[in-house]
C-alpha cells in the first residue's frame, strides 16, 4: 500500500515537473512564437501575477482580505518615477531595490495600524489607508504630477549593460529584453513565494488562518506574524508596481485608487485563492480578459462584472481550484 502511494506520489511529482518545464519553455520562447502585442500583454500578466502572489500570501494563507493593495503597487511605481524625476536614475536594479524597500516600509506602517484587526475591519482599514496614499499622489501635484502623473522612460537593465539602443524601437526592447527581465523576476518571485508558504513561517500563517486562538495557544505570536505577512505581501506587490511602470511608461494616481485594489482581488478570486498557482493564472487571464473586453465593447466593466458574478456562482474555488481536481480525477481514471 505504502509502495503504491510512494509510486503515485513520484508519478504526480514527475508529471508536475514535466508541466512546469513545458510552461517555462513556452514562456522563454514567447517573443519568438507570438507577436509583440501578445508578448507585451503577457509581460503585464506576469507582473500582475507577482502582485497577486503577494496578495494571496495574505488572503489565501493568512486569511486576511486586503482592499488596500493598490497602495503598495502604486508606491512601487511612484518610487521608480520619483527616482527618475529627482535623481535622474535609469537603472532598473535601483528602481527594483528602492521600490521593494519603499513598499515594504509602507506595508510595515499599514500593518502597525491594521493587523490587530481581522475580517471586515482589516479590509476597511487597509482601504482607508490606501486612499490616504492616493489622495497624497492626487493633491501633491508639484511632486507627483497630480492627475498627469509622472513619465518613466525605458530603463537600463543589468547595471546598464542592457539598454535601449539609439534609434531602436522601444516596443522591440520591451517585448524582448525587458520581457526576459520580467520573466526572470517572475520566476524568482514564484520560487521565493513557494518556499515561504511551505516554510515553518508559512505553516504558522496557515495556522493563524485556520484557527487564530489555537495558533496563539501553540505559541505563534499572531499579530507579529500577520504583520510580517503583510510586509512580505506588500513588498511583492510593490515590486510588481516597479516592474509595471517602465512597461506603461507613465504612472498616475489611478493605480493607487481603490478599484485597482479590487482588480488585485479579482485576479486572485478568478484563479482561486486556495491554490498556490491560482492567483498567477488569474492575473494573466484577467489581463487578457480586460484587454479584449475593452477592445470589444465600451461596456467592458459590465462584461468583467458579469464574469465575476458567474465565477463566484459557478466556480467559487476559481479556475485552478475547480479545474485541477478535474484533471487529477481524469489522470486517475486514465
Amino acid at each position: 500500500m505504502s509502495q503504491a502511494l510512494l509510486a503515485s506520489g513520484r508519478l504526480l511529482a514527475g508529471w508536475r515537473l514535466a508541466v512546469g518545464i513545458a510552461i517555462a519553455l513556452f514562456l522563454v520562447l514567447v517573443p519568438r512564437l507570438l507577436p509583440p502585442f501578445q508578448t507585451l500583454q503577457l509581460s503585464y500578466g506576469l507582473i500582475f501575477a507577482i502582485a497577486a502572489l503577494g496578495f494571496n500570501l495574505l488572503l489565501g494563507y493568512t486569511g486576511l482580505l486586503s482592499f488596500g493593495h493598490s497602495a503598495f503597487f502604486g508606491v512601487g511605481a511612484y518610487t521608480a518615477a520619483l527616482l527618475v524625476k529627482y535623481m535622474g536614475l535609469s537603472s532598473m536594479e535601483a528602481f527594483v531595490l528602492a521600490g521593494a524597500l519603499a513598499s515594504a516600509v509602507t506595508a510595515a506602517l499599514f500593518g502597525a495600524v491594521c493587523v490587530r484587526y481581522t475580517r471586515i475591519f482589516f479590509s476597511i482599514l487597509m482601504l482607508a489607508l490606501s486612499q490616504v496614499i492616493w489622495s497624497l499622489a492626487f493633491k501633491l501635484f508639484w511632486v507627483t504630477g497630480g492627475t498627469d502623473g509622472l513619465r518613466v522612460p525605458t530603463p537600463t537593465l543589468l547595471g546598464g549593460s542592457v539598454a535601449l539602443g539609439a534609434g531602436e524601437d522601444k516596443l522591440v526592447f520591451l517585448t524582448h529584453r525587458y520581457y526576459y527581465y520580467v520573466l526572470a523576476l517572475f520566476l524568482v518571485c514564484v520560487g521565493a513565494m513557494w518556499v515561504i508558504v511551505n516554510s515553518p513561517f508559512g505553516k504558522a500563517l496557515q495556522a493563524i488562518r485556520d484557527n487564530e486562538t489555537r495558533a496563539e495557544f501553540v505559541g505563534v505570536q499572531v499579530r507579529k506574524y500577520r504583520w510580517i505577512a503583510l510586509v512580505v505581501s506588500g513588498t511583492f506587490t510593490g515590486l510588481a508596481g516597479t516592474l509595471w511602470v517602465p512597461l506603461n511608461g507613465l504612472t498616475t494616481p489611478d493605480i493607487l485608487y481603490w478599484p485597482f485594489s479590487g482588480k488585485i482581488v479579482f485576479f486572485v478570486v478568478l484563479g482561486g485563492f486556495r491554490t498556490f498557482l491560482g492567483p498567477v493564472l488569474g492575473a494573466v487571464v484577467f489581463n487578457y480578459l480586460e484587454t479584449y473586453a475593452i477592445g470589444f465593447t465600451v461596456y467592458w466593466q459590465m462584461v468583467l462584472g458579469v464574469v465575476l458574478v458567474l465565477l463566484v456562482l459557478t466556480m467559487p474555488a476559481g479556475l485552478v481550484g475547480t479545474l485541477a481536481p478535474l484533471f487529477a480525477r481524469r489522470r486517475r481514471i486514465a
Binding site: P200, A207, F217, G219
Partner: protein, 251 residues
C-alpha cells in the same frame, strides 16, 4: 509541592461572579480533576491561568514565577499548555502538520521563511512519535478536519502535549465522544501524564471518568471552590453530592 498557585483570583462579568476570589493549587505530578456544574467557573479559571482572560484581581504563581500579567506566549514558554472544550484544531492542515507546527513554534522555528518545513527531519520525526503515542500515526496525512470526533479530541491533546508542557489543562477531553471511546482517550492521557512527568488538570462532567482517573479532585460551584480532596473524600463530601452529583450517595 505546588506547581501552580492562585491567590484570591477574581473574574466578574457584570453581575456574574464567574471566578470569585479563588485559591487554587495544583501539585507537581498529579492528575487533578476539576468538576462543577455548567457555569461553575471551571473554564473561566483555566482561561485565567492560561492567559486567555486577564483576572480582575488576584495573583497566579506558576513554578515560582508570577505569571499574572504575562501574555499567552510567555505562559507557554513557562510551560503551561491547554486543550479546548470545543475542539480547536487547524482543520485545513494535515494531522502531521498540526503537531509539527506546534513543535516548530516550541523550538522558535516558525520565524524561518527560507527553509522548507518538510525538510526538517528532526521536527517531522518528533511529530511522528507524538502521533504514534496518541495512536494517530495512520492518520498523519489526513486533513485534521476529516477526523472522527474521538480522534479530533486526541489530536487536540496531542497538539498541547507537543509543547512539552509542565502543566497541561484538558478541558472536557471526552465530551461529545461515545462512551466506548472515553476510556481509550483517558488511558492515553493518563499514560502521557504518568510517563512524561507532566502535571495535568482535567475538567470533566463525566463523574465516572473523574473518579477513575484523578489523584485529587477540586469541585467548583458558582465561582468558588466547593471542595478539595481525594476521590474518596469527594465521594463522601455531602456538599458535593447534594450540589453537584444530585444525590446524597455519590456513585
Amino acid at each position: 509541592m505546588a506547581l501552580l498557585e492562585t491567590t484570591r483570583v477574581r473574574k466578574w462579568f457584570g453581575d456574574t461572579h464567574a471566578v470569585d476570589d479563588v485559591d487554587f493549587v495544583v501539585n507537581q505530578g498529579e492528575l487533578l480533576g476539576l468538576i462543577g456544574s455548567n457555569g461553575a467557573g471551571k473554564t473561566t479559571l483555566v482561561n485565567l491561568i492560561s492567559g486567555l482572560l486577564r483576572p480582575d484581581a488576584g495573583r497566579i504563581v506558576f513554578d515560582g514565577a508570577d505569571v499574572t500579567r504575562q501574555s499567552v506566549h510567555e505562559r507557554i514558554r513557562e510551560g503551561i499548555a491547554r486543550s479546548f472544550q470545543l475542539v480547536n484544531l487547524f482543520d485545513q492542515m494535515t494531522v502531521q502538520d498540526n503537531v509539527a507546527l506546534t513543535i516548530f513554534a516550541r523550538e522558535g522555528k516558525t520565524r524561518r521563511m527560507t527553509a522548507l518545513a518538510e525538510r526538517d527531519r528532526a521536527v517531522l520525526d518528533e511529530a511522528g512519535e507524538v502521533l504514534q503515542r496518541f495512536g494517530l500515526e495512520s492518520k498523519a496525512r489526513m486533513l485534521a478536519g476529516g477526523l472522527a470526533q474521538g480522534e479530533r479530541k486526541l489530536l487536540d491533546v496531542a497538539v498541547a502535549y507537543a509543547l512539552r508542557p509542565k502543566l497541561l489543562f484538558l478541558d472536557e477531553p471526552t465530551s461529545g465522544v461515545s462512551t466506548r471511546e472515553k476510556a481509550p482517550i483517558m488511558d492515553i492521557v493518563t499514560s502521557i501524564v504518568r510517563t512524561g512527568g507532566i502535571t495535568a488538570v482535567v475538567i470533566e462532567h463525566d463523574m465516572d471518568v473523574v473518579f477513575t482517573y484523578s489523584d485529587r479532585i477540586v469541585a467548583m460551584h458558582e465561582g468558588t471552590i466547593l471542595a478539595d480532596g481525594t476521590p474518596e473524600e469527594i465521594r463522601r463530601n455531602e456538599r458535593v453530592t447534594t450540589t453537584l452529583i444530585g444525590t446524597t450517595e455519590a456513585g
